[in-house]
Assembly symmetry: C2
Homo-oligomer: 411 residues x 2
């Protein structure tokens, strides 16, 4: 399975007692201790030795490597009530970052995320990418990226890697979008060099829902190690977090909630199937059921969505019924997904979060009817993640890769 | 997640460079080299050192521990063309085994499985466990177990551990059956000491479908590291193998395919929900739809199943239609599960395997309609596992635990 490496564990697992592997794992361990303290940090080498259970000599040697790699920096620490010169503390290097990007059906976005996972700067540009030319979309996104590269340079920020999220199935190794029906892309190789021209240590391609799930994870309580993130857009995606890691399945495409069959004799779906959740609860499906379907040379989707909310606010049909029907279908799909994954927390993002007040009653009633034992334990949350969620999640994942495998930068 | 420990990895992951952990991991590594050679094995210490990439001195010391633990034995090796005295080879100890057991709705079973995973002896006893008293069932199973303990003793076999598979959700840590609606058990603590009286190093409680999935895994090709095993009984269970390991989800209950919603307005289910796969494709659901439903003081299920096959053989309705309807529903549920898990291989066991010729056409047609892109890649297999599948899978898992953590026996 292609999953982000899990801290020291992954680095340590490849061979028995191999010294190189132990050093790699310990490098990552020291860095995770430094990263784990956040802003309050500034640990001395002795503090790190204590928390990592490594010897002071080992820590000194490992810290030297991290300073060379530029992932950590030294900083003076003054402690109240202590005399003498300040001890030297260590923090994550604030002048290092990763570029996160997203291609959505209705916009493109890019942003800079630092090693602590914070979004430093970003730019979102509305763009109709439905049935688009991938070269043109990448050229437009490259422009956004260059703006942010310039901003980074002017602030002395070095970009260590990049990540891109797209609404579809991807082959991460090959930088290929396998299927993104709502972009109209199939088997599209992406020239990611156009996005970040210099050779970077790390560039990753993500499914949008998976990237958003990773961003959502940062917002969850520490004990929330398992949840399904449901991304409601024109398409519906799912990103599964199990044991605090992204679960992507054997080929990297797990979580396709939008194509769970919720009506055996239902409508034809863009996937070629029938009765998928997306045919009832996808953005265009809801708009169509609300008599606000797309008409050539007519309003944009954003305008039609505006009219949907106007109708919902006044309680007008068929808008209210269309959203309730979406909620009912969502309850069915979520019931099945919660059974199969054995997760009890589901977080809804995208238009599902915005539609919550009209969607939730029907969804909860449907879950109660179809799976009362699941409903009794279910925690159904709405995500506060906005349009930067996917780019931040994708970038943070690359930050995580760097912090978990710092030996790649140590060289 | 509660998953079987994965070879050296799990043992090595808990701390950085701890000598005790390294030794545990290396013990398991040596044992896995010995186990990996199968009957053709009989490796010398030098062979083991080469294959494990450990020093000869380490291997000698580790092998001494394994001999003390009784997991391996020495055996003389004669090689063709070699002169002098035979070198000493090592094999898994053939006089060690694990007791596997199953409580099924219609029978109880127990068997002895050796360290190579081979079923040495077993006994299956028909028994109506539907709405049963758990104490009585365990007493009956204890009798089977004692028969096999005597058989083991008479053959000089030592039993190192035990495992029990039941058709329901279990809390493995507490030896509790949380929900087994087809046994009529809910929150039932099991006195497993009644099954294997002496304190054993290891006893595990399994969901039946998970245990069967583990048994099925042994029958798959090495490259088949991901598949869903679907167990068709009165209930329908699912056991998911991902990256060659059982995926059980956060609370250990993943894979509940029987309660995937396949008909939103369908029949009420034993789970309290509505429209679950089990209401159409479970054994009693098929019998009822074939006008062979249970009537008090009437035929046993086995007799009614006999009449179902008679009707199917002659192409008689409503039997043929009932099984086709089950196949259609199975196609829908499997389509959704394959999407969510991203697996392309599904193996059908229990009555689904027996019904294959009547079930498969409808199932394949349904999968094609609801998810053609999934259907194009799908491999739908029938399992040759019979009534010993679950007990063998459960026992093998405990054998695996012993081989992966031999330090527990070394003490």
């Amino acid at each position: 399975m292609r999953q982000p490496a899990s801290s020291a564990r992954a680095a340590a697992s490849s061979a028995p007692g191999n010294v190189g592997d132990v050093r790699k794992a310990n490098l990552a361990r020291v860095l995770s201790v430094i990263a784990g303290t956040g802003d309050a940090g500034r640990l001395s080498r002795a503090d790190i030795a204590q928390r990592s259970q490594l010897t002071k000599a080992s820590v000194s040697s490992l810290v030297a490597d991290l300073l060379v790699a530029g992932l950590a920096i030294e900083i003076g620490v003054h402690r109240d009530g202590e005399r003498g010169r300040p001890s030297v503390g260590l923090v994550l290097n604030p002048a290092r970052c990763v570029m996160g990007m997203e291609i959505n059906v209705d916009y493109i976005a890019a942003g800079l995320v630092d090693l602590s996972g914070k979004l430093l700067a970003h730019e979102i540009r509305p763009r109709t990418n439905h049935r688009s030319n991938s070269g043109e979309v990448l050229a437009a996104l490259g422009e956004l990226s260059r703006n942010l590269q310039e901003a980074a340079q002017s602030q002395g920020l070095a970009i260590l890697g990049g990540a891109l999220a797209v609404p579809g199935l991807v082959d991460e190794e090959q930088f290929t979008v396998l299927q993104a029906p709502n972009l109209g892309w199939e088997g599209q190789d992406l020239d990611v060099a156009a996005l970040l021209p210099e050779p970077k240590t790390r560039f990753r391609l993500f499914n949008e829902a998976n990237a958003s799930a990773l961003a959502q994870q940062q917002l969850m309580e520490a004990q929330d190690r398992d949840f399904l993130f449901v991304s409601g857009e024109v398409g519906i995606g799912g990103g599964l977090i199990i044991d605090a890691e992204l679960f992507v399945g054997p080929q990297g495409h797990a979580g396709e909630l939008g194509h769970v069959v919720i009506a055996p004799d239902g409508k034809a779906c863009s996937c070629g199937g029938r009765g998928c959740l997306e045919t009832v609860a996808g953005q265009e499906a809801i708009l169509a059921a609300a008599n606000l379907g797309a008409v050539a040379d007519s309003e944009s989707r954003q305008e039609r969505i505006g009219r949907l909310y106007q109708a919902l606010e006044t309680g007008a049909e068929p808008a209210v019924g269309a959203v309730a029907e979406a909620g009912k279908s969502l309850g069915i799909a979520v019931a099945s997904a919660m059974r199969l994954y054995n997760v009890s927390t589901v977080v809804f993002g995208g238009h599902f979060a915005a539609l919550e007040q009209w969607l939730r009653p029907a969804m909860e009633a449907s879950l109660q009817v179809h799976a009362p034992s699941i409903a009794a334990q279910a925690r159904l949350l709405c995500s506060p993640l906005g349009q930067t969620g996917a780019l931040v999640g994708a970038a943070r994942s690359v930050v995580g890769d760097l912090l978990e495998a710092p030996h790649q930068l140590v060289g």
